[in-house]
């Protein structure tokens, strides 16, 4: 545990102040599935970004950039609301590119 984090949690009564925890790291809550995206189907509507309860969906100036798996707790809401079916839940062990894009067959098996 980083000492900064320890100090933040060690105020009398465990008081937490704004900025102590920028984002709860809820990635460890996933139980077997994670969201993946077929980028060619994504229309950048960002409904997934609007609905994600953990700010796990990232975008840059309105362009979908993928998922932060440290934050995604696997609730599947993004896959549910995606109007084009670009997002689907895949097995945790599935190799994806850093954005969560499904890799072409045969890639990423080594890493």
């Amino acid at each position: 545990m980083a000492s900064e984090r320890q100090d933040a949690f060690m105020r009398p009564g465990g008081v937490v102040l704004p900025g102590d925890v920028a984002r709860p790291r809820t990635g460890g809550w996933r139980t077997g599935v994670k969201p993946a995206v077929q980028l060619e189907k994504c229309v950048d509507c960002l409904l997934c970004w609007i609905h994600c309860p953990d700010m796990a969906v990232q975008h840059k100036q309105g362009v979908f950039q993928g998922f932060d798996y440290d934050l995604c707790k696997g609730c599947e809401v993004c896959a549910e609301v995606c109007p084009t079916g670009a997002i689907q839940m895949v097995a945790e062990a599935t190799q994806l590119d850093p954005r969560g894009a499904i890799l072409p067959e045969g890639e990423g098996r080594d890493g």
Binding site: M1, Q6, F9, M10, R11, P12, G13, G14, V15, V16, L17, P18
Partner: protein, 394 residues
Amino acid sequence: MARTTLGQEVLTGGEATAHAMRQIRPDVVPIYPITPQTPIIQTFSRFVADGRVDTVLLQVESEHSAMSAAVGAALAGARTMTATASQGLALMIEVLYIASGLRAPVVMAVGNRALSAPINIHGDHSDGMLARDSGAVQIFAQDAQEAYDLMVMAPRIAEHAAVLLPVLVGQDGFSVTHSAENVSLLRDEEVQDFVGPYEIPYPLLGDRPSSQGLFAMPDSYYELKVRQAQALEAAEQVFADVGRAFALRFGRHIGAVEAYRMDGAERAIVLIGSTAGTAKDAVDALRQRGEKVGLVVVRLYRPFPHQVLAEALGGVERVAVLDRAVSPGTYPPLYSDIRAGYAGPAELRSYVYGLGGRDTAPEDIERVYRDLLVPRTAGIRYLNLMGEDQHGES
């Protein structure tokens, strides 16, 4: 120099405590009545109704609610006090642990009374002992004057940056709460000045938003609880410092323990609360007859002042620890505490007395001192219990 006191008044312990509260001027007092604490909040409520203090009085539906409201108010940034006794304290216990854990410096007067069942309204320390692991600072007064003085000291102890814990100021039910004595009150402005403004590090109503009462996972709960326990340990020094400041200013010194005629004592009694007065009379009578006996009265019970107590006992040979509570299945609380921390030469013996308001007379105390003259085996003796042998007289 201006007089700091108003002179003597005839007040019960309950009334004196209510005067202390009026002079401290707490922002919020959540209350629920229960004998023998009722005279405290009844008197205080009258002060509020008469406009002598501008406290927000919250009349809640139970002691559980009273302590819950007190925790919220104290953390919001309001100086908060309450009072209870017996079953009321028992009902508060769940929230008292929370008050300690959230470091809410609530000051509470307790009119110490027996616990049910059988139901009984009279004095003993069973209720206080129920709170002994709650993390609160626990102080017991011997008489009305101490109940008043300790109540004036209590906010500074509770709110000290190194402590930030609830403080329970106990006074024996009826023998202190309802008994009128001469009490020397301080001037209102002296109390105000001594207590100072209410300051806690992270008030909910401050400029800086904060989250309180959060879930603590295995990665932080342990550390928070240990730091909370360390804060209670720190309260021993804070109690001594506040006591010294009180003595310097007002001329009355209240230490963690009182050693009464312990010079050259070979036999001693250790006890808590109002029976100290009775025991002092017994000690005086025995000393007059040349017997080397003394008395040690424990005021600060949590944190337990092991070192100060050992110093007070000095080179005494035999000690009777008198508990006004039991801990069924093992030795009673005060005896166990002393036993756990005492490494001195004296032989310690355990006595229980006065449960449910059973009278303890000077002769009973003298019997204990006589009992200490003779060797005996371990075990708990019960003073004035019907059917128990009248020890020391055989």
